[in-house]
């Protein structure tokens, strides 16, 4: 009876999701009107996510052939429930022609609430084949929307608890894992009518345990003037360096079009300053480029160049590029690892293209690890093709030079990896033969050392065993002098900006500190501005009294233990704690904390883990090392470059009495806000407070939260600050990396000594900056306690 009921009703909804032609309209307003009309009419359907692990919501084509130009596909989607394992791993892939975009559960803010999932695409002018018949069929232009769920045990278990669809009746009773129980049968009787495709009318969506809903999509034709790129000449400038920017526009349509072109420069939190405006007509298929200087005088920290092309009645295009000004690139470091240079960059054009790619990912530097023929004693290869001593990575002199030159051209920096305890491979073993008194122990395989030359002969792909030796005790100065001489020579040969040591043993080896100081003196005398970074366990190095030497002059520590712990499903609150401790130690000594960011976006990590971890890193002033931060929902790496002043400025001091100074609405919703809070004197009477509103539960476990449960977005968060008498408010801003790095001025009022402001919206993490002038520091500011260092 029940089965018959389901079958009889199936045909009514068979066509509920049948959308084979997508409406095309010109302009944003008509598109909005179409979408609103569909919404009002209740058009659409919901797909039962319990039916399968994949599904199709749309397989369609535009209602008419699309002329060359820019378009935006609007796909209204809604997902329910949220924060549930039934939907946590959902991915929706939207395709238009050859362009696609992924959406995941994090794109949906509220369960069942529709979002406008958009996909911008360009239709190129078709290549005309004179031999093609005039009635040749147009090239298909697919518009598809598909969804997938992870096919894993936990997800399956949860999904099996949903109702059974009529297409697969399963009346096994009592087996809760594979079929409905008596209770489930009851709910099955109350289930909505489900089509064979697993769809229900939109109004019935709420009765499905898990569903994704879609309203009819629409294609909006936008202005054909595309902003191809906007670029500052460099990602990082040194103070006094001239700046320049370039904006490239192209008319991708099939006829001439006009747009209001604007290029602007914004420094810090200041107002945008116009660099260029004009109304320009660009012929079909033509490109127009604007290039001009940007005034960086007196600038420090981050800024951006923005460009837009606006057309009346049509959605235009806009974009921006971020940059920073600093004399110490560690201040804005986002460092990638670059092993295995090979001969990929023997062509300088390839090097430039690669550096552009790094810059697009938000990196400001790269580290060539395992590059040197010997990590302590040989940084000047003797042959064009050479092999790194630690693991046989190949490189050429030409490629290395070209890569570094290309990096400098775009303001990126180059770091070479080194060790300080002894050398690697053949050069080190040969030095040990000549100078046995320099060395104590060694770790080697004689066969591997013997065969090293076979790599150059092309008989061996790579020596995987790292043969290395260790300095004797006490190590001779001559060994360090040789090391320093090699670094100097390598800097002159290739242009390295810094060295990152992978070893340092201050706890047990007192000789390291004077040796390090000697090397630094020698190198800096020949290469002023050369920088130093160290693999460090900051708490240990702090106890050993060595961290000051390591970080003097604004050095960077590379910390790797934290992210190694990601595999243990740490709570984000604990991760934040550790990051803040690292910051406390490192900033106390004027350094910078480069913590490895070990890819928390591969399974079992989720996009939410990625956002939380990225937010915690930046809120605690940690520079991501090796891997970029989250860049799909937001642009965290670019945000770091843009707003490093509020994240990485190691003069930002703790605000130990934050709760006395700041009254934060819904304070218990923001993770560690009082400990994240910082303050700084801006010089003269200028003062600043930086708050981090991190909307996350501290117990959220990275890599163990597939449901992506997250707290709701907070709106209109009130903040009040009690400032010293006589304070004059300069301004307040909210900064956010999602969806693009940006800031907005916050309307703020000051009455007496109290400043009140409201943050409109905090979804994951916002940075709030409040600047004021006062002759007095903040009231009752206590000195920071010494770092708590656990033994």
């Amino acid at each position: 009876m029940a089965a018959a009921l389901f079958v009889a009703c199936a045909a009514d909804v068979a066509q509920a999701g049948d959308t084979t032609k997508v409406v095309v309209v010109d302009g944003a307003e008509p598109a909005a009107a179409v979408l609103a009309k569909s919404a009002a009419a209740g058009e659409g359907f919901a797909a039962d996510l319990g039916k399968d692990f994949t599904g199709s919501l749309l397989a369609a084509a535009p209602e008419r052939p699309l002329a060359p130009g820019r378009y935006r596909l609007h796909v209204p989607l809604a997902l329910a429930p949220l924060g549930d394992v039934k939907t946590g791993g959902l991915q929706v892939n939207v395709l238009a022609g050859q362009t696609q975009r992924r959406f995941h559960a994090l794109h949906f803010e509220e369960p069942g609430k529709f979002i406008d999932a958009t996909l911008d695409f360009t239709v190129a002018a078709p290549a005309v084949d004179p031999a093609a018949p005039s009635d040749a069929k147009p090239v298909p232009f697919p518009i598809t929307v598909n969804w997938t769920l992870p096919n894993d045990k936990k997800n399956k278990f949860e999904r099996d608890k949903t109702i059974v669809t009529p297409a697969e009746p399963d009346l096994s009773i009592g087996d809760k894992r594979s079929g409905p129980s008596l209770d489930d049968l009851s709910s099955a009787m109350a289930a909505p009518k489900i089509s064979r495709e697993g769809q229900v009318p939109l109004a019935e969506a709420g009765r499905l345990p898990a569903s994704i809903a879609m309203r009819p999509p629409v294609i909006e034709r936008m202005s054909p003037i595309a902003l191809v790129s906007v670029r500052a000449s460099k990602a990082v400038y040194k103070p006094g360096e001239p700046g320049a920017a370039t904006a490239v526009f192209r008319n991708v349509g099939d006829r001439a079009a006009s747009a209001e072109i604007a290029v602007e420069l914004t420094k810090g939190l200041g107002e945008p300053k116009s660099l260029h405006t004009e109304k320009r007509t660009i012929e079909a298929g033509a490109t127009w480029t604007w290039t001009g200087p940007i005034d960086l005088a007196g600038m420090r920290w981050g800024g951006q160049v923005s460009a837009r092309a606006a057309a009346a009645g049509m959605t235009g295009d806009a974009g921006s590029d971020c940059f920073a000004v600093t004399d110490n690139f560690f201040e804005v470091a986002c460092v990638t690892g670059q092993p295995g240079i090979g001969k990929r960059f023997d062509d300088p054009a390839a090097a430039r293209a690669f550096v552009t790619l790094l810059r697009d990912q938000g990196f400001t530097a790269f580290e060539a690890f395992f590059w040197a023929p010997c990590d302590m004693f040989k940084f000047t290869p003797e042959t064009e093709v050479f092999f790194g001593g630690q693991h046989g990575y190949s490189a050429t002199i030409t490629s290395t030079r070209n890569l570094i030159a290309a990096a400098h051209e775009q303001g990126l920096s180059a770091t070479v990896y080194a060790n300080f305890f002894g050398g690697s491979s053949v050069p080190a073993m040969e030095l040990m033969r000549k100078r046995p008194e320099w060395f104590g122990n060694a770790e080697y395989r004689a066969a591997i050392v013997d065969d090293f030359d076979l790599m150059a002969k092309g008989k061996l792909g790579g020596a995987l065993f790292w043969s290395h030796n260790q300095l004797n005790l006490p190590p001779p100065d001559a060994a360090f002098k040789l090391h320093a001489q090699e670094l100097i020579a390598s800097h002159k040969q290739f242009g390295w900006d810094a060295t990152r040591y992978d070893s340092f043993y201050p706890l047990t080896q007192e000789w390291m500190k004077p040796a390090l100081a000697m090397v630094r003196r020698m190198v800096e005398a020949e290469a002023p501005g050369y920088r130093w970074a160290y693999n460090s366990i900051p708490s240990r190095d702090y106890r050993a009294g060595a961290i000051e030497g390591m970080l003097s002059g604004g050095g960077l520590i590379m910390e790797e233990a934290l992210s190694q712990g990601f595999g243990g499903a740490p709570p984000i609150g604990g991760v934040a704690d550790q990051l803040m401790l690292l910051r406390h130690i490192v900033w106390t000594f004027g350094g910078h904390n480069g913590t490895i960011y070990r890819k928390p976006r591969e399974a079992p990590f989720t996009p939410l883990d990625d956002i939380y971890a990225s937010s915690a890193y930046l809120a605690a002033g940690a520079h991501p090392y090796y891997t970029p931060l989250e860049g799909e929902m937001g642009k965290h790496n670019r945000f770091a470059l843009r707003y490093g002043e509020f994240l990485f400025n190691n003069k930002l001091a703790p605000l130990p009495n934050a709760k006395d100074v700041v009254q934060l609405g819904s304070a218990d919703r923001f993770l560690h806000w009082d400990r994240f809070a910082r303050s700084i004197d801006l010089g003269g009477t200028g003062r600043r407070i930086v708050l981090h509103l991190f909307n996350a539960r501290g117990e959220h476990r990275l890599g163990a939260s597939p449901e992506m449960k997250r707290p709701p977005t907070l709106e209109n968060v009130p903040i009040a600050l009690d400032l010293p008498p006589g304070s004059r408010l300069r301004g307040a801003w909210s900064l956010c990396p999602v969806p693009e790095p940006g800031h907005q001025a916050l309307p703020a009022a000051m009455e007496g000594t109290r400043v009140t402001l409201t943050v409109p919206r905090v979804r994951f993490w916002n940075v709030v900056v409040v600047d004021w002038d006062s002759d007095q520091p903040l009231p009752a500011q206590k000195p920071a306690p010494p770092p708590e260092v656990k033994q």
Partner: protein, 590 residues
């Protein structure tokens, strides 16, 4: 006649043949000398390959020292190195070589079995050479009883290396044992810059000194000899000084030492072989035959004695009279060491092995059949190469693969692995015939295999092994035109071994060391056969070797030409080699 009596009679006949062969044994190439080198860092500075060439060594093998004591610890001068050895052959190197060399090796790297073997080796007449270096001697040797006992010196309790920045010139002493070193160009003042401070034991002979300190010390232990070089290749020579390792006569000095070390076993090999044969026969008589495992253990322990055709015949006879098949290890070892030295006296035993119905015995028998060079050998070998099947008893029964079989006259099914073993034995045998009539079979085999051979992968599969063996056998039949290809194949094998033990071509840590032992054993099989190549192909081999600018080709050259009488053409070719050790082969007086 009872079975026992028949066996007894056969043994008596074999023993008589052995004694007669010894009496009539003609002077030809030097008997094959073998050395195993435990290789530490900087071994090439010692120029051991050149020394081995001068001392007429032929077959060499290596194991490699390693030290693992963790990352980044700046330790003291005398730390423990967590040392070990890699690629020590499965066979007892001490039983199968004339001289063992420890080249800059930490005593703690040597496993207990090797240390015990070293003592037995020297006691029975073997030679041991200890070369100094950063990781040698000192408390690690003092604290290793076997080494402390064997060495002709006493080692210090602390690190014994002493720096001599100005260099100390090496000089021969007045000791009578220094006589072989007298005629060298000592006036060039070859010097050392770091030495071990050692104290010669009573009865030891200091034959080289440096600055009044012992540099080369000789001693005896049991029937064997030990030499210890207290110098090292450490240091940076100052201007105007000649480090001994760059001295033109250093290989001659080291070679003379190696020659002295090898002498007891070389000189006494015939007598030792005869004594061994008597002992084996006695054992067989007393027990009424040995079990296969016990017999192969005896054979493996006496492999150097099997170089002689008569001893080889005895061994084959004993194997044929045993029930059961050889293990893989025994088969590989005996194919390597026994087959190349089988002669006419092995014919009957070879046939018996071929008809045993046991794959590995059949394989060995086929190889020996080739060496026996009887009439019909080529045809028999061809038949087994094609079929890859065992045949049991007098009736050659060919059974389809997949059919079940049993013992007692029925044929045993040959699995693909067994088929390969048999075919390999047949290929070896074809080479051993030294008969041009074998070449058409080999040519056909090469044509069939060439298309399937993958070249030089990181490991060697059956096809590649067969392909390589077919080429080598072609050379061994006297076809000199095969020499370039054979030399190139064996050279590529050297590279393949390097690839296997280094981990291959990607950046992970794959377990690619697995093929290394198999490839090393294969290399030994090839080199042992090459060492028995007919004189007529030596010039062609020399020509090809001389064209290769690769120091790693030296042990291959030794295998092919070490200790051999060389034609003027061969010698002239070798002198053109860019590799010093290869050139050194041409400088050895006949």
């Amino acid at each position: 006649m009872t079975t026992f009596a028949r066996i007894h009679a056969a043994w008596l006949a074999a023993l008589l043949v052995l004694l007669l062969a010894q009496a009539l044994h003609a002077q030809a190439d030097a008997s094959v000398r073998r050395a195993h080198i435990v290789t530490g860092l900087w071994h090439r500075f010692y120029r051991l390959d050149e020394a081995l060439a001068r001392a007429k060594f032929s077959i060499t093998s290596q194991s490699w020292a390693s030290a693992t004591n963790g990352f980044g610890f700046a330790g003291p001068w005398e730390g423990d190195y967590g040392s070990g050895l890699e690629h020590l052959p499965a066979l007892d190197v001490c039983a199968t070589n004339d001289v063992i060399v420890l080249c800059n090796v930490n005593g703690r790297a040597l496993p207990q079995e090797l240390l015990a073997g070293l003592k037995r080796h020297v006691e029975r007449g073997g030679g041991l050479l200890m070369l100094g270096g950063r990781f040698a001697f000192g408390p690690q040797y003092r604290g290793t009883p076997a080494l402390a006992e064997l060495a002709p010196v006493e080692f210090g309790e602390k690190l014994d290396l002493r720096a001599e920045p100005a260099g100390l010139a090496l000089r021969p002493t007045d000791d009578p044992w220094a006589k072989p070193l007298a005629g060298l160009t000592w006036d060039k003042s070859p010097a050392l810059f770091w030495r071990h401070e050692v104290k010669p034991k009573p009865g030891a002979h200091v034959v080289l000194e440096a600055g009044g300190q012992p540099a080369l010390v000789l001693g005896t232990f049991g029937k064997g000899r030990v030499a210890l070089f207290a110098g090292t290749v450490l240091g940076e020579p100052g201007a105007g000084t000649l480090p001994f390792w760059e001295w033109s006569d250093w290989p001659a000095a080291l070679g003379a030492t190696m020659d002295w070390l090898a002498e007891p076993l070389s000189a006494g090999r015939a007598e030792a072989a005869a004594a061994w044969g008597r002992e084996l026969r006695q054992q067989v008589d007393q027990i009424g035959g040995l079990k296969i495992d016990a017999l192969t253990a005896r054979l493996l322990a006496a492999l150097p004695l099997l170089d002689d055709p008569s001893t080889a015949a005895l061994a084959l006879r004993a194997l044929a009279d045993c029930d059961g098949d050889l293990s893989d290890t025994a088969w590989e070892a005996l194919l390597t060491r026994l087959a190349p030295h089988c002669g006419e006296g092995s014919a009957a035993a070879a046939e018996a092995l071929v008809k045993s119905g046991r794959p590995r015995k059949t394989s060995l028998g086929l190889a020996a059949l080739g060496g026996a060079r009887g009439a019909g050998a080529v045809a028999t070998l061809r038949s087994f190469y094609i079929s890859g099947m065992v045949k049991a008893g007098a009736a050659a029964v060919s059974v389809d693969p997949g059919a079940a079989g049993g013992v007692d006259g029925a044929a045993l099914v040959a699995t693909p692995e067994d088929a390969h073993v048999i075919r390999l034995g047949a290929l070896v045998g074809l080479g051993m015939t030294r008969d041009a009539a074998a070449r058409p079979v080999l040519r056909t085999a090469l044509e069939e295999l060439a298309g399937k051979s993958p070249g030089h992968p990181d490991g060697l599969d059956a096809v590649e092994q067969s392909f390589q063996q077919a080429w080598l056998s072609t050379l061994l039949t006297g076809d000199a035109s095969a020499a370039p290809r054979v030399v190139d194949i064996l050279t590529e094998n050297i590279y393949a071994i390097s690839r296997a033990r280094s981990g291959g071509t990607d950046l992970e840590w794959p377990n690619l060391h697995r093929p290394t032992p198999q490839m090393l054993r294969w290399q030994q099989l090839q080199w042992e056969q090459l060492a028995s190549a007919p004189a007529g192909v030596r010039a062609a081999i020399a020509e090809r070797l001389a064209a290769i600018d690769e120091v790693r080709v030296a042990p291959l050259a030794l295998a092919a030409l070490g200790g051999k009488a060389l034609s003027p053409e061969a010698a002239a070719a070798l002198k053109r080699s860019p590799v010093a050790a290869v050139r050194a082969l041409a400088q050895v007086p006949p």
